[in-house]
């Protein structure tokens, strides 16, 4: 027991004295979360807009005010004629424009119908569509508030469940969490064991009364602890900085994450029994895991759209199941009753991987 403790302490020394390991362990997750959360979202923020108000009545002013208040838009110009807009689009000064015709409020109150024109820069179709949606939402919102006294009308309403604001980070954070654990845990565990083989310290460890299997356990414990800290850090960043909701039970999420971390550590242990150099271990766990994880977790490319064979392959990727669990618990606020199947699959994978690595871990060299 005392031997195990000393071994675990030695592992912590290794981690804290190696800047590279620390960088992978804590730098990578933080940058990835912030990158995916802020930079790589489909959300459009601060798009330059010009409003051409030819009516100048309370209704158009109220709508303009709503546009100004929206974080998606930056009300940069107020132009007089539609003609001016063209120049602005050409100079790339604005991404879209809202044009109110004369007598907007009058038409709205008398006939219950008014026209408004939305102009967007179609050279970037994705952004254009998104901006149109934002503006439509603002208009619908305004009309909804004015409904009193206006004849009954049918309104088609689109609502994004669980994510009404189309907050992009909601989809990304669970995916990035899965990706990070998959890469960080696997890489660090496998590299740290293979390093002992490569530097020759494994020879001395083997020619000692210390049981070889305990080497695996002693290696896994520090990374489990550090990964749990990592999990808390990512969760904190997600909830506080990126406004992720945590609707479900925190302890359930914690437990599920611990299970997933153990699965990844077991995968790392297994890689360490295959690889004989740190480079190989690094290559297998970083390159070999990164692509399948990104492809088959489902947070970038919907699995439902994939051909059947790829869907079957995706079942073998642990991060896929963890992603489902995190989405269910964090975003939908579901309990264990809804994720037990995924939990069972992860537990099965962890057990299988552990058994394989224990069996493959030899008490001798070569």
């Amino acid at each position: 027991m005392k031997q195990l403790l000393v071994f675990v302490r030695k592992e912590f020394y290794h981690v804290f004295r190696d800047r590279r390991t620390l960088l992978i362990l804590f730098g990578l997750p933080v940058t990835q979360i912030l990158l995916f959360g802020y930079a790589l979202t489909s959300e459009v923020k601060n798009a330059a807009i010009s409003v051409v108000d030819q009516s100048k009545d309370p209704a158009t002013q109220a709508i303009t005010e709503k546009v100004r208040a929206s974080t998606h838009f930056n009300l940069a110009y107020a132009d007089q004629t539609v003609h001016q807009l063209e120049t602005r689009f050409r100079r790339n000064e604005i991404k879209c424009a809202l044009v109110f015709p004369e007598g907007f409020a009058e038409a709205l109150t008398h006939t219950g119908k008014a026209r408004v024109q939305i102009l967007t820069d179609g050279s970037d179709p994705n952004t254009a569509t998104i901006l149109t949606n934002y503006l439509s939402a603002i208009l619908t919102d305004y009309i909804g508030q004015q409904q009193a006294g206006i004849p009954y009308r049918i309104d088609v309403q689109t609502r994004m469940l669980y994510n009404p604001e189309m907050n992009g980070s909601m989809n990304f954070i669970p995916g990035v969490m899965a990706l990070i654990f998959m890469i960080v845990c696997t890489t660090l565990t496998s590299v740290s064991i293979v390093r002992e083989k490569e530097t020759g310290t494994m020879e001395i460890l083997l020619v000692s009364p210390f049981r070889p299997v305990l080497v695996l356990i002693a290696k896994a414990i520090p990374y489990l602890a550090l990964s749990v800290i990592n999990f808390l850090l990512i969760l904190f960043l997600g909830v506080v900085v990126l406004d992720m909701p945590l609707r479900g039970n925190f302890f359930l999420l914690f437990g599920e994450s611990a299970l997933f971390i153990i699965t990844c550590l077991s995968l790392g242990l297994m890689i360490s029994t295959i690889a004989s150099t740190q480079q190989t271990a690094m290559l297998i766990s970083m390159m070999g895991m990164m692509l399948p994880t990104i492809l088959f977790t489902g947070f970038l490319f919907p699995l439902e759209n994939m051909p059947r064979p790829l869907q079957i392959i995706s079942n073998a990727i642990p991060s896929r199941w963890y992603y489902l669990i995190v989405k269910s618990v964090m975003l939908k606020g579901l309990g264990f009753g809804y994720v037990w199947k995924e939990t069972l699959i992860l537990a099965g994978m962890a057990t299988a991987l552990l058994l394989i690595s224990l069996k493959r871990f030899t008490v001798r060299l070569g």
Partner: protein, 297 residues
């Protein structure tokens, strides 16, 4: 203490160890002498239970290296050929780690390592990666000794170490031997052979000879002559042209030739009259000469 019988080990096509047999007595300082790739490391790894031999048996301290490997791991000390400690841990931390791993403490066995540890103690807070080659070696030896092993295996402990540190290292081995420890050490340096009680000359996985360092030169066949002249290259060329020389090779600043009978020395002088400052001298064979002869029977 160590018994090796008909041990063989093959890696693919390479026969690293070929039917090796020898025995090391208790308290003996036994040297495995041979060039790189002779099979020394494989042999030591088999004895330290790190590798399994393909055939043959071996025991260490009465324990079989295959069936009783756990018992052997509890009692032997092993220092691998490469520096195999944690470079990012300090001297103190390395020593403490290995002491605990072997279920003991530094204090408990301080007497064993004290003569060696005292030399590196002033630097105990320094990380192992920043130590000089000689100090690394001393630290590795301390770590291998900290649990007071009955048998110590050292794989090329002095390779890549400066001359002064090499001498110090061998002095320490002598000290350990005087405390009754059995030591098996491998080295490619012939000059270290004379510091052992007995040596085994090993080449291409085969043991050529096992004897005391003093007795091995007695096995030399023929008469050894050291030949010198100003033009050493031309001299070697002329010597190689003489068909009746049994062997002829450059050795330091002179050329060693083996001849069959004492009269051949004069015959040699005659054949080389053209060389200036010619010097032909009969010398006793060194271990290296014996090794060369054994390698080229």
């Amino acid at each position: 203490m160590i018994r090796v019988e008909q041990l063989s080990k093959t890696y693919g096509d390479v026969r690293a160890v070929r039917e090796v047999s020898f025995a090391v007595e208790r308290g003996e300082l036994f040297g495995l002498i041979g060039p790189d790739g002779a099979g020394k490391t494989s042999l030591i790894r088999i004895l330290t239970t790190l590798l399994r031999a393909d055939s043959g048996t071996a025991t260490v301290g009465g324990y079989d290296v295959v069936t009783d490997y756990r018992a052997i791991r509890n009692t032997v000390g092993y220092m691998p050929g490469r520096f195999s400690l944690y470079q990012d841990l300090s001297i103190e931390e390395n020593l403490h780690f290995f002491a605990t791993l072997f279920g003991t403490t530094v204090r408990e066995n301080y007497a064993v390592i004290r003569p060696i540890y005292e030399q590196i103690e002033p630097f105990k807070k320094r990380r192992a990666g920043q130590l000089s080659g000689g100090m690394k070696q001393k630290l590795a030896l301390c770590c291998a000794l900290v649990h007071q092993p009955t048998v110590l295996f050292l794989d090329e402990p002095t390779t890549g170490v400066d001359v002064v540190s090499r001498k110090e290292f061998w002095d320490m081995l002598g000290l350990l031997k005087s405390q009754g420890m059995t030591i098996l050490v491998s080295t490619p340096y012939m000059d270290e052979a004379s510091l052992c009680d007995r040596i085994a000359l090993i080449q291409e996985g085969k043991i050529l000879s096992v004897d005391t360092p003093a007795a091995i030169p007695g096995q030399y066949r023929g008469i050894l002559l050291a030949v010198r002249a100003d033009e050493i290259y031309a001299l070697l060329k002329d010597l190689r042209a003489l068909p009746w020389l049994k062997s002829c090779y450059a050795f330091g600043e002179s050329i060693h030739c083996t001849v069959g009978q004492p009269a051949d020395a004069a015959r040699l002088r005659e054949a080389l009259t053209g060389h200036s400052n010619l010097e032909v001298k009969e010398i006793p064979a060194s271990i290296e000469d014996c090794f060369i002869q054994l390698m080229n029977p």
